[in-house]
Symmetry: D2
Subunit: 144 residues, 4 copies
């Protein structure tokens, strides 16, 4: 499911659970969508995060940012693209773009709409809270 | 994606967001998984719930029940089967079974594990809160 | 905050995050409200669940049930009463009632409205998954 | 519940639902905590958000940011302070600080720990999506 627009693309159909009374996807859910794409990216790279945790490598989030350009709606089919630009020392950033690929009311005419852009920043950490040098798995992903 | 074991099968990879410090999927999330399967079933039947709502047919939940047999874990691939046994007057019930199809640590040996069973009960309702006769869309789904 | 109507009463003001596009509290959130009341009950009884977990006593949910009588809305002030009727062997049940005490639009005239009733069933479990005899902390709570 | 450190302080006891298998509050939940504080601030200012919506004033989130300094844990008592620094044209920003006031395992020695800092940016919007001039209710809150 990798696509040209990033290291990895995660697809999600918006459930009723995520939509508020403005009929918009509630803003906190995009951080969950980012995580789903992150999980998928690591999985496809052959180093699932569950395996990293068993090795004693945690990836806590140090910062998160979202810009909300257009709302997503119930039953919209969303594509979440994740990119891994580069390292900055021990800290690294992942960039995300959320697109509406198909609206809940059927295929959308014209081009895909960019709904949300954002990023997360992480470090590699040991279970007792010590910052680790980045796992080699991330070297291979960086630079996209 | 329909399968023999129900009207519709919804697949979900468990995100980190849904797992608690017991390392189990937190129990309320299964009601969201049920809804995702419900949404998918209606969609595949050609009557997406978003279209029903536009026609003025709401489907509030009147009751929900879950039996938790085994825990699901982070990155497990789950299959949520939904069945539509029959009507009881204006009220109707949907039955769900959640299976682990693949564990987060790789393909599971042996047969799929049944993790959770449950049901939801609904009525068709107008936007101003009046109970409606069941929409014809549901007649065609019932009896499975 | 204990009240006559149960062992413990938990208060929550409904956030926007919990309300769907029907303008109702989304049905899965009540299981979270039940847990908040459960956590508070144990805490007030002098045996916080976090302390139980440190002693190696987990309380997984074996079953959950909800009857939705009336919807809750954004900014409603809810009271969640929890009762502990009795043990059935190693398995025990907790009963919940969710009331609207004050509506989002100001004090509600007349009596409190009962919105949701339900229960959860639990066992005491060791971290490696063995069912334990009920912790003495629960003996003191049962029978209400 | 207003305190010196901001326009408004919202208290929340961390439920099990919000904690992940790292034993940390999952990062998306802080955006819900920010919203709870926002809702409370408007409510205390005499202009509940539910009333604003009835008047046709929506407050969609245009951007959100979090810096995660220390993790919160299950049963921690958190204080979420919200500040309203000023307007920038039609767009306005709210600043948040999340403190641990008491740990799940009992009162914390020493001073309160700052766990998370962040902000959200909003506009006032009509139900049909037009940007509105800021509601007078916000003028009275700004400048803190």
């Amino acid at each position: 499911m990798s696509e040209g627009n990033g290291v990895y693309r995660h697809m999600i159909r918006v459930p009723y659970a995520h939509v508020d009374q403005m009929r918009f996807v509630y803003y906190a859910n995009y951080l969950v969508y980012f995580e789903m794409a992150r999980t998928g990216m690591l999985r496809e790279a052959g180093t699932p995060y569950s395996t990293l945790e068993e090795k004693g490598v945690l990836l806590p989030v140090m910062a998160a940012h979202c810009e909300y350009r257009q709302p997503a709606h119930y039953e919209d089919l969303l594509a979440v693209d994740v990119n891994f630009p580069a390292f900055k020392g021990v800290r690294f950033r992942l960039d995300y773009k959320v697109w509406r690929v198909e609206s809940g009311a059927g295929p959308t005419p014209g081009e895909d709409a960019l709904l949300v852009e954002g990023y997360t920043e992480h470090v590699c950490m040991s279970p007792d809270g010590k910052v680790l040098r980045p796992d080699p798995a991330f070297k291979q992903l960086a630079g996209h």
